[in-house]
Amino acid sequence: MQEKKDATFSYQFPDGDRRLAFSRQSSFRHWDPPLPSPSPSPSPSPLLRSHSFKPYLARSDSTVGMPLLEKPGQKDATWVALILAAVRGVANGSRPMKRLALMISLNVAYSMIELLLGLFTGRVGLVSDAFHLTFGCGILTFSLFAMGISRKKPDETYTYGYKRLEVLAAFTNALFLLFLSFSLAVEALHAFMQDESEHKHYLIVSAVTNLLVNLLGVWFFRSYARVNIVYWKPEDMNYHSVCLHVLADSIRSAGLILASWFLTLGVENAEVLCLGIVSVAVFMLVLPLFKATGSILLQIAPSNIHPSAFNKCSRQIASLEEVLEVSQARFWELVPGYSIGSLSVQVKKGVHEDRILQHVNGLYNDLGIQDLTVQIDYK
């Protein structure tokens, strides 16, 4: 199930002629960790050198590795500086980032208007809708933040880099959607028990506007508008979660509009029905994403590799004559597309480790494990 990369997401030459900028990056392939000792020898075999990352300038990058945001947690960063940095980060960011920022600002503006209107005219429904929107915006802002910061290079504390944040943002989005579906179910129950149906009518305008804004968002991220996606890069998860978020919101607005219409038609319990359907729909929509992100965060073995492949690899290693035993093989996914593993190999005494390391690394690289640490014990 290849997902098509359509021309909308053309990152190679987004703005201006940056073609030569790629080659000017001298260190875009390696990462030299800060070491107090002399740097590693100049000529180990490439496999042993085992860099932690593929080239930083992946297809989705359109900037050239500039530090986009200040490191979070710096106590002396003033608010103004942070906001400026954020704006700069978004302006330099990739196209999905810009679109997401646009959507978020639309949503924020709209919810502010709704809140003020609701406060002044005294309509509770508007206020509750505004709150709902604000929560959603907050989560989307976190996604945006994750997009921006995920391109920072790994440093002392975050030795694996910041890409995990995208997975986390996707998980938070999925969690929020689960809460949403639950609260819609509660609302349906409430409407069922209360048997009042007056408060949906004047929300039509707001629901329609909400629907339009969210449909715009779905259009922006339309290549991710599916329930089951194979994730190739960490950004995939983030974009998917954003798309599902706006999709769920638009389904909810559509449901409200539909319920209102049914009520005018005189259908009994229309609200309960529509809210119930929407709740179930959102739940089914978000469950695969939730499971996928959850399994990455839980350090489950990479899902794109079948467990029997792992067994086969370990048996292949164990079948070498110098190897006595393979144990403690653990694998996990840092982000979709990048897997890390560690294992322990017992060998007979006196065997040179180079060959074994190369062999083991080669085997697991074929599987898709990019980063492997092999501990060789001599019997």
Partner: protein, 427 residues
């Protein structure tokens, strides 16, 4: 050692045999069932057991027991409130009952996380299920935020519906009752919090007697409890780095006190370890998140009480109610920030705060035969369980076995990281 399961059964969860041999430094690790003296496996001395709780780990059962008691109490109070609310036909009481329901939900999440963390590791979930604790805590905290938002929304609704529907007195009474309930549960769950200053290794005894021995993970005043905990704590705390551990303690107010305790006991290493085991309540993150939830609820109850009192006395000062609620909600959110930061750091696979990487690197590079290290990754599977992986480049003539032993020993002794995977490469 773990053996790889046959492919036919790879899809089922397997029980992984753990054969460990008691090595030279056996004093640091508890004896595990099935020690095998034949294999000379250095890979995970006393460690694989670490990746899946033994079923009768006292800490876990204590935490679970606490939470179960809290859940039962909550449900009892909730039914009382629901009955009272239906009888009095008051929305305020029912709303408060709904808040208690959210408490129950949070406790359920924590309980589930605690229970699930004890599942045995399988090849698919090779690090055990400890991460579930962290995710459960994350979900709990998101719920706290959600509830804070709902409360602010309710305050705004009260502001809008200012035609006397809201009875200030009723609001006040109901939230006072909710506050009392929450305080009881806070005391039950997080007893060591308020008395941190008194918790030296001796004072802990005094407090312990009033409650059952559950609450203090590190405060076992029964001596048998003590020894059981010692080993656990030696697992988790490097004695050279007690300061960083204190950083990680969730109670900021106990931080300075514990420092002083440290300095006074650092002379004798062995003894200080035992004493530290006594006074360091390494609270389970799920119990702590449930405690935060309850604390947040009590803070918000105070806010609602103030709002109710204001509306009761002067119904025209509605705006103060909203302002109060906003302030208290912000306070609640601030209490969750520290825990959220911890959770975030674990989920991002970052180096735990208590490990000093520069010292580790320096120490490793200073060893005989070690030329350089690179690809050093230290990360935690949950708060307190740290793993390390590293590539060590040694001189061409060095003995790889010996260097491996030394490196592993150094890491385990000084930093108490029991799961280290070292790849030795030659120059």
């Amino acid at each position: 050692m773990e053996r790889h399961n046959s492919p036919a059964s790879a899809s089922h969860s397997q029980v992984i045999e753990v054969n460990i041999d008691i090595d030279r430094d056996a004093s640091s690790f508890p004896p595990i069932s099935n020690p095998s003296p034949t294999s000379n496996n250095k890979a995970c001395r006393g460690g694989t057991c670490d990746l899946s709780y033994s079923k009768d780990s006292p800490e876990r059962w204590d935490s679970m027991r606490k939470l179960v008691i809290a859940v039962v109490l909550c449900i009892v109070f909730m039914t009382v409130e629901v009955i009272g609310g239906i009888k009095a036909n008051s929305l305020a009481i029912l709303t408060d009952a709904a808040h208690l329901l959210s408490d129950v939900a949070a406790f359920m999440i924590s309980l589930f996380s605690l229970w699930a963390a004890g599942w045995e590791a399988n090849p698919r979930q090779s690090y055990g299920f400890f991460r579930i604790e962290i995710l459960g805590a994350l979900v709990s905290i998101q719920m706290i935020w959600l509830l804070a938002g709902i409360l602010v929304y309710e305050a705004i609704v009260r502001l809008i519906h200012d035609n006397g529907e809201v009875k200030g007195f009723l609001m006040f009474a109901v939230s006072a009752f909710g506050l009392v309930v929450n305080i009881i549960m806070a005391l039950l769950l997080g007893h060591d919090h308020g008395h941190g200053h008194g918790h030296g290794h001796d004072h802990g005894h005094g407090h312990g007697h009033g409650h059952d021995h559950d609450h203090g993970h590190g405060h076992g005043h029964e001596h048998t409890h003590d020894h059981g905990h010692n080993h656990e704590h030696e697992h988790m705390h490097g004695h050279g780095h007690e300061h960083q551990h204190e950083d990680q303690d969730h109670e900021a107010n106990t931080f300075p006190t514990k420092h002083q305790h440290d300095h006074s006991h650092s002379n004798d290493m062995k003894e200080s370890l035992i004493k530290k085991g006594n006074k360091k309540p390494k609270r389970n993150i799920n119990v702590h998140s449930a405690y935060l939830h309850v604390l947040g609820d009590s803070i918000q109850s105070v806010g609602v009480m103030v709002g109710g009192a204001v509306i009761w006395y002067k119904p025209e000062w509605k705006i103060i109610d909203l302002i109060c609620t906003l302030i208290f909600s912000v306070i609640v959110l601030l209490t969750t920030i520290k825990m959220l930061r911890n959770i975030l750091e674990v989920l991002m696979e970052s180096t735990p705060r208590e490990i000093d990487t520069t010292q580790l690197e320096k120490g490793l590079c200073a060893m005989n035969g070690v030329v350089a290290i690179h690809e050093l990754h230290i990360w935690a599977i949950t708060v307190g369980k740290v793993l390390l992986s590293c590539h060590v480049i040694i001189a061409p003539d060095a003995d790889a076995d010996r260097v491996l032993d030394e490196v592993l020993g150094y890491i385990r002794r000084d930093f108490n990281i029991s799961h280290a995977t070292i790849q030795i490469e030659r120059h």
